[in-house]
């Protein structure tokens, strides 16, 4: 029974990674850049939700919407101020800018909210489900997290597959220049991608802090890096890959911590990533890109 319970915890943690990884993978797929500030957008989202419930006394669902709104605007602003001017710059310049933006956001949070950890109250207030005469307890947060992840996946798959903006995103991800010559507004498409990724980051931030309620300015960095790992694990640029990578990473982490060593949990996660990349450099669902010579 403890195996089942660990599995459920793993899937739940993995769902959070998957939601964050979606942001990484979509931005990479379309703007061809690694947005290392993505993890810190999660942290900002969690702080906004915290402030709305604690200081303004508004209901939890309002705080989630507020977090999504603020993060969406933040994502668009970061893109237009920091990344857009570097659209044609070497990728290293953009990468360094993203790392700088990550530290910038952490320090802004430090300035506003201080370094003392805040205790985040879960936005979900329901009773856990007890199965097998109370031997298996599934927490309300875990259930909502997995459900949110599934809904987001279905929504995004449909959005990219069947709507005009989704088609434009796929076109831009394949050939920016050709898309532009067909009249597709590449800048708008990239902005929308950042907006969606950041809104998802806000949801992930709230869910993450509902499960692990310590909130401080560095809260986003480790999950951010893990989710980035998950995106690479599943094949960066692939939406189903982000889901698969995220969930697998969550399960591996929880099992590693439970059955092998709590201290080595993260080391195990990254060791498995290295092994996988040695065998399959493009990740689980990543497609091999043949360079023409």
């Amino acid at each position: 029974m403890s195996f089942l319970s660990n599995l459920i915890n793993g899937i739940s943690l993995g769902s959070v990674y998957a939601i964050i990884a979606l942001g990484y993978t979509m931005v990479y797929g379309i703007a061809k850049m690694l947005n290392f500030a993505h993890g810190d957008v999660i942290m900002i989202g969690a702080y906004i939700s915290f402030c709305v419930t604690q200081y303004m006394g508004l209901p939890a669902w309002v705080s989630v919407l507020a977090a999504m709104l603020v993060c969406t605007l933040l994502g668009i602003t970061i893109e237009s101020l920091a990344y857009k001017p570097l659209r044609n710059a070497p990728s290293l310049a953009v990468l360094i800018t993203a790392i700088g933006m990550s530290y910038f956001l952490q320090n802004v949070a430090l300035l506003i909210w201080g370094s003392n950890p805040k205790s985040f109250t879960s936005v979900i207030d329901a009773d856990p489900i007890r199965l097998f005469d109370g031997q298996l307890i599934i927490s309300d947060v875990a259930l909502v997290t997995v459900a949110a992840c599934i809904l987001i996946m279905i929504g995004l798959t449909w959005f990219t597959g069947k709507t005009k903006m989704g088609r434009a995103m796929r076109a831009v991800s394949e050939d920016k220049g050709a898309a532009q010559l067909m009249g597709v507004n590449v800048n708008l498409t990239i902005s929308v991608t950042f907006a969606i990724g950041s809104a998802l980051a806000a949801i992930a931030g709230v869910l993450l802090c509902s499960a692990y309620p310590t909130l401080m300015p560095t809260t986003g960095s480790m999950p951010g890096i893990k989710a980035f790992t998950a995106a690479v694990f599943g094949g960066i640029g692939s939406i189903p890959g982000a889901l698969l990578g995220g969930i697998l990473l969550g399960i591996i982490e929880i099992f590693g911590k439970t059955y092998i060593s709590t201290e080595l949990g993260d080391a195990i996660v990254f060791a498995i990533l290295i092994l996988l990349l040695l065998v399959k450099p493009t990740g689980l669902l990543g497609k091999k890109v043949r360079e023409k010579v």
């Binding site: 709507t163 005009k164 989704g166 088609r167 796929r170 220049g177 010559l181 067909m182 009249g183």
Partner: protein, 284 residues
């Protein structure tokens, strides 16, 4: 014909402009004057002048490296010209970007095929229709009736356009998996979907066998007649160029060395020299 259409162009045509007689009374679809571009001091295009009539099929030929594709890149604003002006249907493109030039009525294909290879044939055409059919993103997310209506319309329009080349049965296939000839045709359909007034084709017959080329020639004429648009093509296949182009411009080292009808071009000594090299004194 209405009086409006009889209106003469704002700037008088240069004396060496050649456009078909039937297009003479109407505003030209493309009017490029003194066009030039430099890359780090190197003049890739110098004093390029060309006027294309509304339903003309124009050819741009010249040896490799003459600057033909650069001309297409200047017209579509991939590069900004260093000197000169381009009018598309009378509108100055100086302050336009690539997207605006597309909206003004220019669509193109590419020398090396640049389809969205992982997307379906139908979706490739729908990207071309992107600006023609509108619904807001919120409408799309909430799946309001306008979304279903517009998407249905786009689907029908895409199939209709594909049927020009008898490709409607391939609509669901992945574009990258199509045979080479079909990919070239799909690129033309995608460009047509943007509703151009002038279609730029960059080596449309490259890699085609004679039978396919003949079919392509018929199709270019068919497109011109059906949509009443102008076509400008870069091509090395002289059978195609001489067969369907009404006006031909020959480019060498970035400058036009000859302009005229196919007959005039074929007998022009400067053209023969550019293609075959100068005959040395004393050679037989």
């Amino acid at each position: 014909m209405s009086e409006r259409k009889q209106r003469t162009p704002m700037v008088p045509f240069p004396s060496d402009a050649i456009i078909p007689e039937r297009d003479l009374g109407t505003r030209p679809v493309l009017d490029a004057r003194h066009l030039g571009v430099e890359f780090g001091g190197l003049k890739a295009v110098d004093d390029f002048n060309l006027i294309i009539g509304r339903t003309e099929i124009a050819g741009l030929i010249g040896p490799n490296g003459a600057g033909k594709t650069t001309i297409f890149n200047l017209i579509t604003k991939v590069y900004s010209p260093t000197t000169g002006t381009i009018l598309i249907d009378g509108k100055d493109t100086a302050n336009m970007n690539t997207i605006q030039v597309n909206k003004a009525g220019i669509a193109r294909t590419f020398q090396n095929i640049r389809l969205f290879g992982k997307m379906s044939v139908e979706d490739n055409v729908k990207i071309g229709l992107h600006n023609k059919m509108k619904y807001s993103m919120a409408t799309g997310i909430l799946r309001l009736p306008a979304y279903w209506k517009t998407e249905k319309l786009m689907h029908e329009k895409a199939l209709e356009l594909l049927s020009i080349f008898d490709m409607q049965d391939m609509a669901g296939a992945i574009a990258g998996s199509l045979p080479y000839g079909a990919q070239r045709r799909l690129e033309i359909v995608r460009a047509l979907a943007t509703g151009p007034k002038l279609l730029l084709l960059d080596e449309p017959a490259a890699g085609m066998n004679p039978a396919e080329t003949s079919e392509l020639m018929e199709n270019i004429l068919k497109i011109r007649d059906t949509f009443q648009i102008a076509v400008m093509l870069i091509e090395h296949d002289m059978h195609l160029v001489m067969g369907i182009c009404e006006g031909i411009a020959v480019l060498n080292y970035g400058s036009i060395i000859a302009k005229g009808t196919p007959e005039q071009i074929q007998s022009n000594p400067a053209v023969i020299e550019a293609y075959l090299g100068k005959r040395k004194e004393g050679d037989a």
